[in-house]
C-alpha cells in the first residue's frame, strides 16, 4: 500500500485564495517520484497556478498516460477527478471527456515518451481539433519509468547515462503543435517557477489547445554530463522569448514592461495576457516566425522558452462541433429520447 493521504492541517495563518482555500487544499498525495525529480516541481507549479486562479478542484479533470510524468496527477489536486489511462492515449480520453462535459477544466499530463513516441498521433490530432485542454509534457528526454531509454525528444548526440549516443534528431513538440494550428504553445523549465506558473495560468484560461512543453530533468537517468536535458544544460542554454503576466478579469494591468516590447493578448473570458518580448525579433502571434525561431534556436543549441505562440482567435473543439451550451452529460432524458410518436414517423418512412 503506497497511498498515503497527507493530513491537511490548516494552519490558521495560511494564506487563502478567493475561494477561501489554502495551497494545501490543492495538494495531492505524497509523491513517489525520485527525490529531486523535475516532475515534482511541475506539480508544485500546478498547485500554485490553481490556487492563484481560485479554481475549485472539483471542476478540474486531470488526465494522463503512463510514465513517471503520468503519475504526477496523483500528486496534485486531490479533489480533482483523475484518470491515469493507457500509454500515449491520454489525448483521446481527454477528447471524449471534453465531449461529455465541455465545462470542466482539462489538465492533460504526459511525458515525452508518452507524447512524442507512442502518442504522437493522438497528440497531433487533438491539437488539430483544438481540444480545450492544458496539455503538459513533462519532458526529460528519456523514458524514466522504464529506466532510461532515449525518447524521441532527446537531442541528436546527447549521451545516455550509460554513455550511448542518441543517433536520431529530436521531435520538437511545440513546433509541431504550432504547425498544426494549436492556439497556445509555450515551453518552460521545471526549475523556473517564475516563468512556469503564469504560463500555466494563461494556458488554463485559454480556450483551445494549449501545449506547455516543460523540460523536466530526470535526476536518475538523464541528468548527467553529456545529456542535453540535464538541469545544468538547460540552465545554460535556456533563452526566454518573453516575460509573461497573467491578469485575471477585473484586475488592473500594471506591468512595468517597456512600450514597444509589450504585447497584450485578451483571452476568451476577458482576462488579459501581457507579455514583454525579450527578443525584438520574436512575435508570438506570428506562426511562421515562431517556427522559424524555434528551428534556428535548435540549430544553435538554444532552448527557447516562454510563450512561443498564441492565436487568441481560435474556436475550441466543442465550439467547432456546435455542441449545445448544456454539457452533453447534463442533458435531461426527455431532451435525448425522441419517444414513441417520433418513432411512429420513422417506422412510416421505412415501409
Amino acid at each position: 500500500m503506497t497511498y498515503i493521504v497527507k493530513p491537511v492541517n490548516h494552519h490558521p495563518n495560511l494564506e487563502k485564495n478567493k475561494l477561501g482555500l489554502t495551497r494545501r487544499d490543492y495538494e495531492g498525495t505524497i509523491s513517489t517520484l525520485c527525490a529531486g525529480c523535475g516532475h515534482d516541481s511541475i506539480s508544485a507549479a500546478v498547485i500554485e497556478a490553481c490556487y492563484d486562479l481560485s479554481i475549485s478542484s472539483d471542476q478540474i479533470a486531470k488526465l494522463s498516460g503512463i510514465g513517471c510524468s503520468s503519475k504526477s496527477p496523483s500528486y496534485f489536486l486531490n479533489q480533482a477527478h483523475g484518470f491515469n489511462s493507457v500509454h500515449g492515449r491520454m489525448p483521446s480520453v481527454a477528447t471524449g471527456a471534453n465531449l461529455g462535459n465541455k465545462d470542466l477544466l482539462y489538465l492533460g499530463v504526459s511525458g515525452d515518451g508518452d507524447t512524442a513516441a507512442i502518442g504522437i498521433g493522438q497528440f497531433m490530432h487533438a491539437a488539430r481539433r483544438q481540444l480545450n485542454i492544458t496539455y503538459i509534457v513533462e519532458n526529460n528526454g528519456t523514458y524514466g519509468l522504464t529506466k532510461g531509454q532515449f525518447s524521441a525528444t532527446n537531442d541528436q548526440g546527447s549521451k545516455s547515462k550509460y554513455g550511448e549516443e542518441n543517433v536520431f534528431a529530436p521531435i520538437d513538440l511545440p513546433t509541431m503543435a504550432i504547425q498544426l494550428g494549436a492556439g497556445f504553445v509555450g515551453r518552460s523549465f521545471s526549475g523556473d517557477k517564475q516563468q512556469l506558473v503564469p504560463l500555466l495560468k494563461a494556458a488554463m484560461k485559454f480556450e483551445g489547445f494549449s501545449l506547455i512543453d516543460i523540460i523536466s530533468p530526470c535526476v536518475t537517468f538523464n541528468n548527467h554530463l553529456g545529456s542535453t536535458k540535464s538541469f545544468d544544460h538547460i540552465r545554460e542554454h535556456n533563452e526566454s522569448v518573453s516575460s509573461l503576466d497573467f491578469v485575471p478579469i477585473g484586475k488592473e494591468i500594471k506591468t512595468t514592461y517597456k512600450e514597444g516590447t509589450k504585447v497584450d493578448v485578451p483571452l476568451h473570458d476577458g482576462a488579459m495576457l501581457t507579455l514583454e518580448k525579450l527578443s525584438k525579433k520574436y512575435n508570438p502571434l506570428d506562426k511562421g516566425q515562431a517556427i522559424q525561431s524555434l528551428n534556428e534556436a535548435e540549430k544553435n543549441g538554444k532552448v527557447l522558452t516562454g510563450l512561443l505562440f498564441i492565436n487568441p482567435e481560435v474556436k475550441d473543439h466543442a465550439e467547432i462541433l456546435n455542441i449545445s451550451d448544456t454539457p452533453l452529460n447534463q442533458l435531461a432524458e426527455k431532451e435525448l429520447c425522441p419517444g414513441a410518436k417520433k418513432l411512429a414517423k420513422i417506422n412510416a418512412s421505412l415501409n
Binding site: M1, T2, Y3, S56, S57, D58, Q59, A61, L63, P73, S74, N78, Q79, A80, H81, G82, F83, N84, S85, V86, R89, P91, S92, V93, A94, T95, G96, A97, N98, L99, G100, N101, D103, L104, G121, Q122, H125, A318, L321, N322, I323, S324, D325, P327, L328, N329, L331, E333, E335, L336, C337, P338, G339, A340, K342, L343, I346, N347, L350, N351
Partner: protein
C-alpha cells in the same frame, strides 16, 4: 420449355457492374415487392471496390416468410457480361435469364428461359446524355420486370417520386425509363414469365430496413450523446445513421446547437479512447467498428474492463482474419470480443438477429453498460447490418426510463458517511460510481488501469488486487440477469436433439426447422442473444442429448465459449459451420443435420460439418 411457375415465392438476382447506380434501382425493386405485401430479403453482394468490378443483388421474396439466403436462382437479370458465365450457371432449370439483347448472345443453356430486352438500344433511342443513360437502363429493366412479374407499376412510380423528393426534375425521366421497359415487355414479352407477385398484406406492420440504420437509431433512443468512430466497412453506416437521426431529432430548435457530438477519430485507438473518456464523464457514448478495429481497440477495452467504465462497442462483423473479406459476412469475432485484451478479462456481448433487435439491443446496451460499468459489445454482422430485412416495426414505451445504474448524486454523497469507488456494497459485485463535477468536495477519485483497492487507491498488494479481480468476475457472473434471454422456437422441448444458433443465421432457421420437421427430424431450437449465458441456456443444453451448434465461422467459436464457460462436455455438440462469407442457407443446415441424424442410426456421427 419448362418454365418455373410460382407466386410470391422466388429468388431473383441482379448481376451488375459496381458503381453503375444499379444498387438503388434494385433496392427499389425489392421495395416494390415489399409494398406489394410480400416479405423480401434483398442482399447486396458487393466487392471491396468503388467502380467497375462485378456486383450482385439478390432478392428472395417469400410469402411464407422464409427470408434466409437460398442457393439457385429463379430469375437472373444479367447486366454484366464480365460475369455472364458464372451468372448463367446459377440459374435453376426452368428459370429465367433477362439480359441486354442490344448485343445478342447464345448462353448455351437449353433448360432456361431467355428473356431479351434491348436495354441499351431502348435507352439510346430515348435519352441523350450517355451518363444518365447508363443509370436509366436500370429503371428500364425494373419496368420490364414490373410487367413480367405483374407488380403494380404505380408502386414504382410512387417510389421514384419519393426518392427524388426535392429533385423533382428527375422524376419524369425516371418514370419515363420505367415506362419504356414496361411497354417493351407488354409488347414483346407476354407470358414470358410465370413467376408472379400477387398483392397481399403480409408486410402490414412491417418495415424494410437494415441493422445499421436501426442500430444508429437505437443509440439516439438509448440516449447516446457521443459517437466517436473511424470509417470501416461494414460498420460505417451505423455511425452515419446515428448522425442522420441526430440531425433530425437532436438539434436544438432555438439555438441550432447539437445535443450530440459526432467525431470521426483519427483511428480506432482514438475512437474507443474518446468513447471511454465521454462515458467516464457520464455521457453515453459509443463507437462502431469491425474486426480490424476491434483488434486495435484491444488495449483500451482492457482498461475499460478493469477501471469499470461503461462503453458500448458495435462490432459489425465481416470476413476475417486480417483485412480478409471486408464486404462479406461472418460471425468470427466471438472470441476476440468475449476475451478481448490481455490478462483475465471477459466481456458482455449482445447478439441481435435482425434490425428490430439491432434497434432494441442498441438502446438497451447503454442501460446495461451503465448498470454493469463495463464495456458492452453489440455483435452484429454485415448481413444484418448492411442488407435490408423485412421485420416488425420499431417499438418504444414512453414510460421507459434510462437506467443509469449505480451513480451517486450530490444528495447521495451528502448523505453518505464514506464511499469507495470499488466497494461491493450490495454483494452483486457492482460498485457505485460518481461523475466528475457532481459535488464540490465529495466523490472525487482516481481512475486507473493499474491495480487499485476498493477506494481507487493505487496499490501493489497482490491480495487486494486479487480481491478486486474476483469481485469483477462476480459482477460478470451475475450479468446475465440484465441481458436479453434466449429465444426458443418451441413452447416445450419435443426432441432429444437441440439446435443452438444466434445472430443472422435466424433468417434461415425457421425454414430449416420446417424442412427438418418434414423430413421426420423435428428438433428443438434456441437462439442465444447474449453472453454471459444464463440458466435458460444451460438448462436447454442439459435437456438435450445432442446439440447442433450453427455458426458462421471456421473455429466453432461459440462452442468454445459455451464449453469453457459452462463446464459442458464438448462431445455433446455437433458444429455446423459456414465460413465462406455468404449468409448460411436453410438447405445447408437441414442437410447437414439430417445427414448426421441418418448416420447416427447407422454409423458414427460426423463430428463437424463445414
Amino acid at each position: 420449355m419448362n418454365k418455373i411457375s410460382s407466386i410470391n415465392e422466388f429468388v431473383i438476382k441482379f448481376a451488375n457492374v459496381n458503381g453503375s447506380g444499379s444498387a438503388s434501382a434494385n433496392q427499389m425493386f425489392a421495395k416494390g415487392i415489399f409494398r406489394s405485401g410480400i416479405p423480401v430479403s434483398p442482399k447486396n453482394i458487393f466487392p471491396s471496390n468503388i467502380q467497375g468490378l462485378p456486383t450482385w443483388f439478390e432478392i428472395r421474396a417469400s410469402e411464407k416468410g422464409y427470408l434466409g439466403r437460398k442457393a439457385g436462382i429463379d430469375f437472373m437479370v444479367a447486366m454484366n457480361p464480365q460475369s455472364y458465365t458464372q451468372d448463367v450457371a446459377e440459374i435453376n432449370p426452368g428459370g429465367y435469364l433477362l439480359y441486354d439483347s442490344s448485343w445478342k448472345r447464345d448462353f448455351k443453356r437449353e433448360d432456361i428461359n431467355i428473356i431479351e430486352v434491348p436495354l441499351t438500344t431502348l435507352c439510346v433511342d430515348e435519352f441523350n446524355n450517355p451518363k444518365t443513360r447508363l443509370l436509366f437502363k436500370n429503371l428500364v429493366y425494373i419496368g420490364a420486370l414490373s410487367y413480367l412479374m405483374n407488380i403494380n407499376k404505380d408502386i414504382f412510380i410512387k417510389l421514384i417520386e419519393e426518392q427524388f423528393k426535392g429533385k423533382e426534375k428527375l422524376i419524369a425521366p425516371n418514370v419515363q425509363a420505367l415506362e419504356i421497359g414496361f411497354k417493351y415487355a407488354k409488347k414483346h414479352l407476354v407470358d414470358a414469365c410465370k413467376i408472379k407477385v400477387n398483392q397481399a398484406n403480409l408486410t402490414d406492420g412491417m418495415i424494410l430496413t437494415n441493422g445499421n440504420n436501426a442500430g444508429g437509431l437505437g443509440c439516439v433512443y438509448g440516449g447516446a450523446t457521443v459517437c466517436t468512430w473511424y470509417p470501416i466497412t461494414p460498420s460505417t453506416s451505423l455511425a452515419e445513421s446515428y448522425k442522420k437521426y441526430c440531425d433530425q431529432l437532436r438539434v436544438d430548435e432555438n439555438t441550432g446547437k447539437n445535443k450530440f457530438a459526432f467525431v470521426q477519430a483519427e483511428d480506432e485507438l482514438a475512437s474507443i479512447g474518446m468513447a471511454i473518456g465521454a462515458n467516464w464523464n457520464g455521457a453515453r457514448a459509443f463507437t462502431a467498428t469491425s474486426g480490424p478495429g476491434i483488434s486495435l481497440m484491444t488495449e483500451f477495452i482492457g482498461l475499460a474492463y478493469f477501471a469499470e467504465i461503461p462503453v458500448v462497442i458495435f462490432n459489425i462483423q465481416r470476413g476475417g482474419p486480417s483485412t480478409g473479406m471486408p464486404t462479406r459476412t461472418q460471425q468470427s469475432d466471438i472470441l476476440s470480443c468475449a476475451y478481448a485484451s490481455h490478462g483475465d478479462t471477459k466481456h458482455v456481448i449482445l447478439i441481435p438477429s435482425d434490425p428490430k433487435e439491432c434497434f432494441e439491443f442498441s438502446a438497451d446496451s447503454f442501460d446495461i453498460s451503465d448498470r454493469l460499468q463495463t464495456p458492452i459489445f453489440v455483435l452484429s454482422d454485415l448481413d444484418i447490418g448492411m442488407n435490408d430485412w423485412t421485420c416488425p416495426e420499431f417499438e418504444w414505451d414512453d414510460n421507459r426510463k434510462f437506467d443509469r445504474g449505480k451513480v451517486l448524486s450530490k444528495d447521495d454523497l451528502d448523505s453518505m458517511e464514506s464511499w469507495g469507488r470499488y466497494l461491493d456494497v450490495d454483494g452483486d459485485g457492482i460498485p457505485f460510481r460518481t461523475l466528475p463535477g457532481t459535488h464540490p468536495e465529495k466523490g472525487a477519485y482516481f481512475t486507473r488501469g493499474s491495480s487499485h483497492d476498493e477506494y481507487a487507491r493505487y496499490i501493489e498488494d497482490g491480495e487486494v488486487n486479487a480481491r478486486n479481480l474476483s469481485r469483477i468476475l462476480k459482477k460478470f457472473e451475475g450479468a446475465y440477469k440484465f441481458l436479453p434471454k434466449p429465444i426458443f422456437k418451441q413452447e416445450t422441448n419435443a426432441s432429444s436433439n437441440g439446435l443452438i444458433y444466434f445472430g443472422s443465421t435466424e433468417a434461415a432457421m425457421q425454414e430449416s426447422l420446417d424442412q427438418l420437421s418434414v423430413s421426420g427430424f423435428p428438433i428443438d431450437a434456441m437462439r442465444i442473444r447474449s453472453f454471459p449465458f444464463g440458466p435458460e441456456v444451460w438448462n436447454f443444453i442439459d435437456q438435450h442429448e445432442t446439440i447442433f451448434l450453427v455458426e458462421q465461422n471456421r473455429d466453432a467459436q461459440m462452442k468454445t465459449l459455451i464449453v469453457s464457460e459452462g463446464n459442458v462436455n464438448p462431445e455433446k455438440f455437433i458444429s455446423i459451420l459456414c465460413f465462406d462469407g455468404s449468409p448460411i442457407t436453410a438447405n445447408f443446415i437441414s442437410e447437414s443435420i439430417s445427414d448426421v441424424l441418418l448416420n447416427k442410426n447407422t454409423s458414427q456421427p460426423a463430428e463437424e460439418i463445414k
